[in-house]
Amino acid sequence: MVIVSNETFQPWQVLADYERERVGLGGQYGATAVFVGTMRSLNQGHTVEAMTLEHYPGMTEKYLARVCEEAAGKWEVMDCFVRHRYGRILPDESIVLIATWSQHRKQALAACQYIIDELKIRAPFWKQEVTDRGHSWVSPE
């Protein structure tokens, strides 16, 4: 499942709710791998008050769904979950949550790593930081 939303979310609550409502996988998976990206109040030495995350509605969801499919094709994962914020984000708020479920740990870990790496490289999101020096677009890694 892919959710792109401007609502704040608490990653552990999201995962608890998601697993509770999902049917048919109980007892089948042996491994869950999770990555959470969180907004920091300090970036490369300067204080960041807030961030605005722009995205390309439609393309974002399509791209993330494709990356999940690719991950499920490369490794034996039973389910993938991605949730990503957009809009105004404050320090300590979650930006992205990725979770993968598999029978085996290596598959779950590899798929989770793949999804976050691909998301970082290609998902159409753009961060703009609000600092004491004004607004500025974040440079890619």
Binding site: L53, Y56, M59, R122, A123, F125, W126, P140
Partner: protein, 76 residues
């Protein structure tokens, strides 16, 4: 033919608008779409999507296509 052209992030700021609609007489490439719509040089590393899929500057565009231009991404 009619083409929707969209701009995101720093490209949107550079052009001062988030989209254009082109009425074109004949088939165009993505490069020609940029030239006709933006009327300036594209910043280095500008990325291209056609109909919400990553594409390239030589891609031929059809009537009704949506072409988007944006800088390198910084999500996650």
């Amino acid at each position: 033919m009619s083409i929707r052209v969209r701009y995101f992030a720093s490209i949107r700021e550079l052009l001062g608008r988030d989209e254009d609609v082109l009425d074109a007489a004949s088939e165009m490439t993505v490069t020609e779409v940029w030239q006709q719509a933006a009327q300036c040089e594209a910043p280095a590393n500008t990325l291209v999507a056609v109909n919400e899929e990553f594409s390239h500057w030589k891609q031929a565009i059809d009537d009704g296509d949506e072409v988007a231009f944006f800088p390198p991404v910084t999500g996650g």
